[in-house]
């Protein structure tokens, strides 16, 4: 009914957000102190070379003109040329993006698969041993930085026990999932911890609701009571948090890809930072923000689908 219109309205709402992202990314490189040319050249900078690089980047023009040119190229999907790899940034990102998307989606699925059953387990065993142990584990997961968790998995499960490969992408879909298992687990673990904790609280709240008693009083199997009545309502309050943290998870790909030597955009960002490859940094920051915006849109749409009261 109202859902189609809700989708349209939500999409329209994000237009100004995209515009502001563009402005912010543009300003990032140009307003902060230090000009790219001197930074790129370091000690080798002479006035002549700095001027030449600035001319190549267009950073010698008035800022308003720069912005118009930036915008114009952006609309054609052009982020400029990589100063290090000497190829179009768009092409570079396009090449590396699939790995990051696959890794993130894999991590997301892993987080859900870990979090949802364990959240139920914790809620149904509230205050007992199992609940305490699992909560402790998730608290630990939240206090542990991604890079350290990744290194631990890599060393213990990969190098030491040889259960998983320690790098590379593998060949074919199954092998790829096998190769990406540890990176996805690393990346997804903190999301799993966040979701499990918040879902546990939400489930406990929903379990007290009259409609759950009513569902039981109707003689529904417990599987349906928990799966249809409890989970769906508990998810409504968790979905927003899930979206926000999923956005952060994409950022975590930067670290995971570095640790597991995966050729994704996260690794590309780090390489670009060390190579002072400003067009690449600019393009990637933009792409990350747009990606996260789409995740937010998707979570809003999912929430509205779960809860009909939202889109009416």
């Amino acid at each position: 009914m109202g859902y189609g219109r809700f989708v349209l309205r939500r999409l329209l709402q994000s237009v100004p957000t995209f515009a502001l992202i563009t402005v912010l990314v543009f300003l990032l490189v140009r307003l902060l102190p230090g000009d790219p040319a001197s930074a790129m050249l370091g000690d080798r900078a002479t006035d002549a070379t700095v001027a030449r690089i600035n001319a190549a980047l267009g950073t010698d023009q008035p800022i308003a003109l720069q912005f118009l040119r930036f915008l114009g190229r952006l609309l054609q999907g052009d982020f400029g040329q990589s100063q290090v790899l000497h190829m179009p940034v768009t092409e570079l990102i396009g090449e590396r993006m699939p790995v990051t998307l696959l890794l993130s989606a894999y991590a997301m699925v892993m987080a859900i698969v870990i979090a949802v059953p364990l959240a139920f387990l914790m809620a149904l065993h509230r205050g007992r041993m199992l609940d305490t142990v699992l909560r402790g584990m998730f608290q630990l997961g939240l206090s542990m930085p991604t890079f350290y968790l990744g290194l631990l998995f890599l060393t213990v499960l990969g190098a030491h026990l040889r259960l998983f490969p320690v790098g590379g992408l593998g060949r074919g879909p199954v092998d790829m999932l096998y190769h990406l298992f540890l990176p996805a687990l690393t990346l997804g673990f903190s999301l799993a911890a966040v979701i499990a904790r918040s879902l546990r609280a939400a489930i406990l709240e929903v379990l007290e609701a009259d409609y759950v008693d009513f569902a039981r009083a109707k003689g529904l199997p417990e599987r349906l009571v928990l799966g249809r009545h409890v989970l769906r309502n508990a998810l409504i309050s968790t979905v927003t948090l899930f979206g926000i943290n999923l956005g952060q998870l994409i950022g975590g790909a930067v670290i995971t890809e570095t640790i597991f030597s995966l050729p994704g955009v996260g690794r590309l960002l780090i390489d670009a930072v060390f190579g002072r490859d400003y067009p690449v940094i600019e393009g990637l920051t933009m792409v990350f923000a747009v990606l996260v915006s789409f995740i937010f849109i998707a979570t809003d749409l999912f929430q509205a689908w779960l809860d009909p009261r939202v889109h009416q």
Partner: protein, 326 residues
Amino acid sequence: MTENLLEVHGLRTEFHSGGRRFAAVDGIDFAVRPGEILGIVGESGSGKSATLRSILGLIKPPGRVEGQILWRGQDIQGLAPAALRRIRGAEIAMIFQDPTSALNPVLTIGQQIRESLAAHTDLSATERQRRAIELLDLVGIPAAARRLDDYPYQFSGGIRQRAMIAIALAAKPALLLADEPTTALDVTIQDQIIKLILRLAAELRMSVILVTHDLGVVAESCDRVAVMYAGRIMETAPVASLFQTPRHAYTLGLLQSIPQGRAPRTPLPSIPGVPPRPGDVTKGCGFAPRCSFAEPECRSGRPEARRMAPHHLTWCRRADALPEPA
């Protein structure tokens, strides 16, 4: 005498609060006959709702239920989950006080009816759909077919309560537990809902336990009534007998404090003193601390049931000393 549909013996329901156990229901016995409408009346906290929830096994740990709950002679308490599910909804259904919180806000009314049908019948999907429309019709929801895909928040309070009744009746239960079904509704709607329940009980030959704190509702709708106070039954009697010759000091107090000439639908009137709080342990009769007829013996030892007439039981030691109501 016909066989009892439901028999409850020594029901005791305990909850945990502030680190202490207390009995919300403190050892009660009652029975429901086929086609009978039994009222359970009492103030808030007297254990009425806990009694209904105990019957359907809805008390969650660390709450605890003791005693026998016999459904057609079979104890429900020890049943395996699957066997209990075949009774819940199919044989004994329950409707709750507040339809707004008892209907799942994210499922359509149609979904909530169809899932009951799916759990208890062999109907096909199209038959379930047809039956769902019939049920909404049955409870008097206009344009039933069009409202099936609406969500609870799209209904008014009265229609929501009707929808909940439709859901509860989906599998044609033999007993309906109605937990203060009118309390959350507007006064004008309350009467309609009570009449609806009475009509359905008659049409479907269904027994009802009607929990309420409204003596007017009891007088107009029930065959028999049990008065509860502080987790115990004080008195049970056929409605006419209870109103004409109350044989418990508490019942008498309730009836006397109804102002003359006041319309029905008035909540329970006030009696001097305050009801005991959960966890307060009373030796002897629970009402003794507030009772103007109480003697020292009332404060020691639990009173025994006394038969005042063939179907009139009281747990009041001072029953003989009570005056006829004015």
